[in-house]
Symmetry: D2
Subunit: 354 residues, 4 copies
């Protein structure tokens, strides 16, 4: 399933916070090699190490720092591009790269709800990748676009999937406590968040994303498109003074009632499709269920499996619905760059990219 | 309604964090004067200023610092005592003081759900004070015990009250983001909460308190006791890196559906009973409704009306229930010491204490 | 000494963080009344409450929120203007207002080291106000410009003054731990400061300001100008995750050695000039000396005397110089808006503004 | 130099925060294997995983969690023991283990200044290990005790060493900004440190440790003992809201003046003794010099080389002494458990332990 040689990849919008995360995660990737970095006007033609304001730990790898930043407008000759483009530029640029034959694994939001674009969380809905064929026939793209979920959605759908399969999820009320890194850099002003909570996410559409993306991801491919899962969600989002790691507090109403024990077993046994399990970036198990009364915690659980694990805890009955629990994953790895890389690995494993 | 002279009061358990808050709030109180401070074995007979590890701003007032700490076992000759006793000592000590004729306004939890003890949030259920008569006849206390609500409950019931009156609250799912001061001192270890969230409150019973206390407070006095409000609540509590101010994210199901506009009007017009409005510690309005997309915030809204105000925001429809909103108040003022002082003022205003 | 009626004042650059602090502090000022707010292009002609992104607690006072923002270019008919202008606009605008007859009390830095401009910390060098006469004769200004010190300098010079008077300060090594509010809004990105320290202040010139402003402030007026104090300072500045309150760790070398006891006495007895003591914004005592091993602390000591107090602690011998201590004050009150208001009060008290 | 087989080691005081760090760092150590964990009364005879309140990320390795906790009183048959014992128990227990033949690498303070005990930072003073011979002859120990430096001292002496060698360090004024993990668990109360600075370290002796340990570490072995370096230090310590990583702001007076360039070269070229360079836990380079204006930063630089690196930055002239700089390293790795492990590796490499 592994490619015979490392595939050169591009990172679109490489100077931002998510772009930097892509660089860190791809530094020693067994299948991919960073060949092209694109950036904004200001940085084109300059050495990446000289233009980036590096906000992650330490510094970018030397080889990457020496790359000269390219314009996003020019499609490079690479099989895969990772897009960390801002929303306002993503639609046009990604279309251009996909049209020209590149498989674009995007973290941007514009195409997430597009009918022909798979919104992928591989452990949950790897089969949605079949939409790529329709992209090519209907939209005339020689490459493709595959989107990963909103960072908070990614945390939520992971435990919802096995529950939905086993018992049928009908209703979800979710409150998120989201880390500041989700807002990029400079993002949240320290004066707004130190000793404070903001009861919303500044982009304004976060709750809507959670309520709609989840239904698409948990939906099923019916040969022509995605039939959305008939789940009603009510989302409340907050920003908290945590660096990385989104926490979601969830109440779930099920079609068929499940005891805590039955739900725990289903969560523990969830593995996702076999094709995903062996991918380089896939965690050994998609979900880890903790039984302590005070887990998961972002600082202590976000780095599980290199930030690709999802930790669930406090599973208990809900007086109003069926079950309550807390779920957590790393928002800029599992919920952004790492998720997009896992999507690309799936494209390779499935032979869509070669 | 004001007493003709300042009433001497005792503070039981005066060295702890809540005890300190009582001292700060009573420093220039128009009706009450701190006469007695009680403390644990270690501090009895010593100058308060010498034994207290002051954790609030600056230092205790000089006059209070000079008081000699008394044993909690000995009932003082005061009409009112404020109890900041730890749960394990509260039941016995408070009973002794109440039996001996003192009106005990307690922040401790043991008596909150006691059949004859009013669980008071004056703006919400001042009439529950009528239970005091039953305390005296059934339990033989010459004084009385009046409890204030759990700090998170206090934040929640304030907006629930007018909604319940107008539309009938039936279902509530609430997730709290609670400040560290709620755990007292030393309380939450910094290693547990910096850059972190704890998805529970360490005492273990916080969610149960929210689910039960709310029904008692929103219940009605029927001449013999409190008929609990028939509301089903599902509570999720978390600890966040915020000094003061509990935030609660709430979804509410109503008997009679209400639009956001109708609910906003009801919240805005809520004033509470007339007898409460003029009390020295009562806020000018019990609820402040904000319409910004990012309020309430603990650091910016907790000190409203000296920490006695409650701020509600983000009122909007809930896809599953009827309404969603966020409510916030100061947990150690409105939700603890300030609430107990308001209870004492009500006892004076109603002529129960003289 | 008080004016016979409230003087109308302007706030230049009223929408920024320091401008907001001016508004809060002047809300109920006994001598001054906010009459004019100026702002940038974007906000001119609009209601202040509609254009300001309020970052302090709660909201601006209603009367001020209703003022229409004026252009900074047009000098208003007011005796006093408070300048919270950004460095790049301050020089030209403040000159225009001073020339036209307004007493400009500025928090901006351009004029701080100007030969004819007093750099005032009233308790320390109220007599430097005599420079105003030279401003008028040499520069032809009908009004004047009076600057307050850099926020970290203000914290430092307060204890240095009495030590300098008594023993002669010769050498100072100071390390500051500065609050994020000193960077304005949005200022420091939360991703840069949560669980972190930045070993510098972004403007780059902070250490130089500390090393030079201190010598001017502690210098003496010789009838023609300021003779700088012959002190060599070495400053190290850091940014820390604290909202408000700059802490400075100081080692001092003296001309005449002083014991800790002698220094403590001098610090305790420091009162500043009589004319300053009675000003509305002056703290009851300029310095408060604490003897606990763990004070001063920003969160617990910054609000002393409405944020105008300075707290000194940990006074002890220095193995290399003579003495060591820690000093702290509120950076946006004592070190910015409050300091400028105290300067304005001094101008009124001295009859320079009427 | 590597042992022919993995050596079994004991961890004394394994349940505390430093004990946990030993476990994490030894989990996959090429030379050592955890064989024995000791703990307090409460935990003896019980499974480690059941008694430890794990405060680091995730959870202890399964194999270690299954070990049964032993009494510290009973000396185990292991060549090496790592001591994370609290100060009050360390002296007696460590003496017992050393007497019985175990090489005790301790993080505790009691023996640090003992005449026959090397206070080791291997890159700085590996030759002090020769004191072990004297321990054995004078004290009759069959094993030995080797101490690592106080966590703040470790950060400081690393850059001082090459400067001392090249130019002769005479005077040091240092202010530390120390992370909360240095206080262990529960350690610093969150109410004391959120939005706050504490201008001291609670144990009270931290400044003295910095001022004395540095002179011993930078001293030289003269065949009989350590001749202390004739350096006068003045230390100021503070606690800051940072999880891990101690920052020290330093001014240095030299015997022979050095330019910034000369000092930078000396710092860059510092490598430490050859025997240390190849040890498994030794960082590739002891010091990393950064030239950005805002480095080092604890969150971004503490994990360099697995937490064993030291980062120096802001090297510049000091107006009073010769040079100023900022130095940083990970306090519970470089400054505690990792330092002790490096010491043990040196003992093995030098043939003292086999």
């Amino acid at each position: 399933m592994a490619p015979s040689h490392k595939l050169p990849v591009a990172i679109l919008g490489a100077t931002g916070a998510v772009g930097q995360r892509f660089i860190t995660l791809l530094a020693n990737h067994p299948w991919f090699e960073i060949a092209v970095l694109t950036g904004s006007e200001r940085s084109i033609g300059r050495r990446y190490g000289d233009v980036v304001h590096w906000v992650l730990d330490r510094a970018p790898p030397a080889a990457v720092a020496d790359l000269v930043v390219q314009p996003t407008e020019t499609v490079a000759d690479v099989p895969v591009a990772f897009s960390a483009l801002p929303t306002e530029h993503a639609r046009e640029a990604e279309t251009r790269w996909a049209t020209a034959g590149v498989a674009v694994c995007t973290n941007a939001s514009p195409f997430r709800m597009h009918e022909q674009v798979p919104l992928l969380v591989p452990e949950v809905n790897a089969d949605h990748i079949q939409l790529v064929e329709q992209q090519r026939s209907k939209l005339g793209w020689r490459g493709c676009i595959v989107a990963n979920a909103n960072c908070a959605t990614a945390t939520l759908v992971m435990p919802l999937k096995p529950l939905h399969q086993a018992f049928g999820v009908e209703k979800v009320i979710v409150t998120t406590l989201q880390a500041i890194s989700g807002a990029g850099y400079p993002g949240v002003a320290s004066l707004d968040i130190l000793d404070n909570i903001i009861p919303n996410i500044a982009n304004g559409g976060e709750e809507h994303k959670l309520e709609t993306e989840s239904c698409k991801i948990l939906g099923s491919y019916n040969g022509e498109g995605i039939g959305f899962a008939p789940i009603t969600l009510s989302a409340n989002v907050t920003r908290v003074p945590v660096i990385d790691g989104h926490t979601a507090v969830v109440s779930v109403g099920l079609k068929q009632h499940a005891s805590v024990e039955a739900a725990a077993e289903v969560l523990r046994e969830f593995r996702g499709p076999a094709v995903v399990q062996g991918l380089p970036t896939a965690p050994p198990e998609p979900l880890s269920l903790r039984t302590e009364q005070d887990r998961p915690q972002p600082r202590r659980d976000r780095d599980l499996y290199g930030g690709m694990g999802t930790t669930v805890g406090r599973l208990r009955p809900c007086p109003l619905f069926d079950l309550k629990f807390v779920t957590l994953s790393h928002n800029t790895i599992r919920g952004a760059a790492g998720g997009a890389i896992l999507n690309a690995e799936l494209l390779v494993a499935e032979g869509i990219v070669a």
